[in-house]
Amino acid sequence: MRVLALHPEKCTGCLRCELACSYMQTGEFKPAKSVIRVSPFEGHTSYSPYTCTQCAEGWCMTACPVGAITINAAGAKDVVDDRCVGCKLCTIACPYGTMFYDPDTRKAFKCDLCGGAPACADACPTAAITYEDTATTDWIGDFARERTARLLVVG
C-alpha cells in the first residue's frame, strides 16, 4: 500500500500542505480543516507535518457504531458522509489525534489519501511529504525527540 511518508528534516514550515489539503477536503483554503498539520519544534526553527498513519487497527473504523468508516480504493480509512451521524466516537477512539469533527457539516473527517493522489505531497515544494509504497511508521518521533531536547533542558 502507498502511504504518506514524512521527511521532517526537509520541512520548511511553509504550510502549503495544509492549504492544499483543506482545499481538497473542503473546497476552501482553511488550514483549520486540514487533516495534515505542521508543528513547530525547537522554537520555530524546525517543523514537521503530521497526519493519519492509516494504522492497521483502524481504531476510528472499528469504533464507528454505524459502519460509516470504511477502507477506500487507495487503502485509506475513509468516512462515508451519508452514514456518519457525527457522534464523535471515532475522534476519541483514534489514539493518534488524526480524526476530526467539523462543526459546520456535523461529520467526522480524516485523511483519505485524496483517494490515491494526495494533494499535500503534490503541494510540498521540498519533498518533505512523499507518497510511497512502503510500510507506515513513526516518521517524525526521532526528529522531534532530537529537536526538542534543548527545550526540555531549558524547561
Partner: protein, 439 residues
C-alpha cells in the same frame, strides 16, 4: 459448532461479525435479541430528525441472513443452564449450544420517586423509549430532564434543536458527576445557562404528578416545575436477573477473564453486562460504554471462532458536546491518588486536566469549544498517551507548565511507534463491508 449469541447490541453483533471473519469452517450461529439490532449511540440523531429511523439499525434481517444467522428477534432469554448448555427463552423455546455469549446489556432505571412511572415520564435508552420521547418533544414545549449525567447530555442538543425549552434537574450539587470534575462542571453549567438552559442542581424530586395534561415536579425544597415532558435519565442497571442460578460468577457484571470467558469455559460475556479488565487500573470493572462493548464483542467472537486472543483491557472514554462545547475524558480521570496538572483559560473557555502515575498519563480531561478543539490533534493524542502508557520522562514537567501543549510531548515520546503495532485482534481490522459471507 453451534454458537449462541444472547443480545443483539454492539457486543453481540460485533461478536457475530468476528466469528464469521475468523472461523476456519462454517459454524451455526443463533442470535436471541429482544429488539431489532440497532445502535444506541445514534438515537440522539434520530431524536432531532437528522437521520431516519432506518439509519439506526446495525444488522438488518438481510445482513443477518447473509451472515447465515438464525434469529429469535423479539424474544428474551429467560434462563441459562450452563451444565446442560441450554438457553430457555421467554416463550419457553430452548436452544442448545456449544458455546454462548452473554451480551444482554443494560437498561434505564428511574429514581424511586412517586409518579416516576407515570404517562408523562420517559426514559431515553432503547429505541422504543426514543420513539416515546420523539413523539412528545416539539417546538415551544417545556422538557424537564431529571439526571444530569452522560445520557441526558447526549440528547440535550437534540431537544434544543427541536425548539423545546429545557430544564435540567440533578440531585447532586453539580452536573456530570461521573464524567468531569467540579471545575469542568462549572464551565459547562455556565455555558448551558448562557445558551438558555435552566439548571437546578442539588434538587431532590419528591413527587411527579399530573397537572391538567402537563406534569408537575415537586421538590424537597424550592418551587415546583410544571412541564410538558419529563425525561428521566437517572442511571442504568446491568441486565443480569435472568442469570440467577446460571452458574456464572456475577459481581457488578458477569466476571470474565482476558479472553472474555466466564468461569464456565464455554460461556463468554461482553459489553455492558460483562465485568472485564480496565486497561489503566487493571481492575475488573463494568464500563457500560460503546467502545468497550465493541472490543469485548470482537475479542469474544474471535475466541469463540477458535482463535486464542487475549485482551489488554478496556479504556474508559467519553465525549459529549453541548451547544458546540466539547467535553471528553479518558482513563482514570477521577483518580485522587494521581498527580494532577490542570490548565484553565476561562475566557475561551478551555480546560485541561492531566493525571499522572509516575511519568505515565493515566487519565485526562479536555474541554473546549468545538471550533477550538478540532483545530488541534489533542483529543486523540490524550487518548493515545493514556492507551499506550508511554513513559513521558521530562515531558511530564513540561506538561505541568504547559498542559495545553500536548502535541510535542506525544510526538517526541514516540507514542506513534508504540501504538502502531497495537491491534485488538492481532491483525488489521476489516472494513465494515468486508465480512465474509457465510455459506
Amino acid at each position: 459448532m453451534r454458537h449462541l449469541i444472547i443480545g443483539g447490541g454492539t457486543a453481540g453483533i460485533n461478536a457475530i461479525r468476528t466469528i464469521r471473519e475468523e472461523e476456519r469452517e462454517s459454524s451455526e450461529i443463533t442470535l436471541v435479541s429482544a429488539e431489532r439490532p440497532y445502535s444506541r449511540m445514534v438515537l440522539p440523531y434520530y431524536l432531532d430528525r437528522s437521520i431516519a429511523e432506518s439509519h439506526v439499525f446495525t444488522a438488518t434481517a438481510a445482513l443477518l441472513a447473509r451472515w447465515n444467522v438464525k434469529t429469535h428477534v423479539g424474544r428474551r432469554a429467560a434462563s441459562l443452564d450452563t451444565r446442560g448448555s441450554v438457553c430457555t427463552l421467554d416463550d419457553g423455546a430452548t436452544i442448545g449450544y456449544d458455546d454462548c455469549l452473554i451480551a444482554t446489556g443494560s437498561s434505564a432505571v428511574r429514581a424511586p420517586v412517586p409518579g416516576a412511572d407515570g404517562p408523562g415520564v420517559h426514559s431515553f435508552w432503547t429505541l422504543d423509549e426514543a420513539r416515546g420521547v420523539i413523539a412528545q418533544v416539539r417546538p415551544g414545549r417545556h422538557v424537564a430532564m431529571i439526571g444530569a449525567g452522560f445520557i441526558s447530555f447526549t440528547i440535550l442538543n437534540s431537544i434544543l434543536a427541536l425548539g423545546a425549552k429545557l430544564t435540567i434537574v440533578e440531585i447532586a450539587p453539580r452536573i456530570l458527576p461521573r464524567m468531569i470534575d467540579v471545575t469542568g462542571a462549572g464551565i459547562v453549567e455556565a455555558w448551558l445557562q448562557a445558551h438558555g438552559v435552566a439548571i437546578r442542581a442539588g434538587a431532590a424530586v419528591t413527587k411527579i404528578e399530573d397537572a391538567k395534561s402537563r406534569t408537575r415536579l415537586r421538590f424537597k425544597s424550592g418551587p415546583d416545575i410544571v412541564c410538558d415532558v419529563v425525561v428521566m435519565a437517572t442511571g442504568i442497571k446491568t441486565n443480569l436477573e435472568w442469570l440467577k442460578g446460571a452458574g456464572v460468577h456475577v459481581n457488578r457484571g458477569v466476571v470474565v477473564d482476558e479472553r472474555l470467558r466466564s468461569i464456565v469455559p464455554n460461556v463468554y460475556a461482553a459489553g455492558d453486562v460483562a465485568e472485564g479488565r480496565d486497561l489503566v487500573t487493571g481492575q475488573p470493572t463494568v464500563h457500560a460504554i460503546e467502545p468497550t462493548a465493541q472490543e469485548h464483542g470482537r475479542v469474544a467472537g474471535a475466541n469463540m471462532a477458535g482463535r486464542d486472543v487475549t485482551y489488554r483491557g478496556s479504556l474508559l472514554m467519553n465525549i459529549v458536546e453541548v451547544c458546540h462545547l466539547d467535553v471528553a475524558s479518558f482513563g482514570a480521570w477521577d483518580d485522587a491518588k494521581a498527580e494532577t496538572f490542570t490548565g484553565l483559560r476561562a475566557e475561551r473557555p478551555a480546560y485541561r486536566k492531566l493525571l499522572f502515575t509516575g511519568d505515565r498519563l493515566t487519565g485526562a480531561m479536555i474541554l473546549g469549544r468545538s471550533s477550538d478543539v478540532w483545530t488541534t490533534n489533542d483529543i486523540g493524542m490524550l487518548k493515545g498517551l493514556v492507551q499506550s502508557g508511554v513513559p513521558l520522562g521530562s515531558w511530564k514537567e513540561y506538561l505541568r507548565k504547559n498542559p495545553f501543549d500536548v502535541k510535542p510531548a506525544f510526538i517526541a515520546s514516540k507514542t506513534t511507534a508504540k501504538l502502531l503495532p497495537e491491534t485488538v485482534l492481532g491483525r488489521p481490522a476489516k472494513a465494515p463491508g468486508d465480512t465474509p459471507v457465510a455459506v
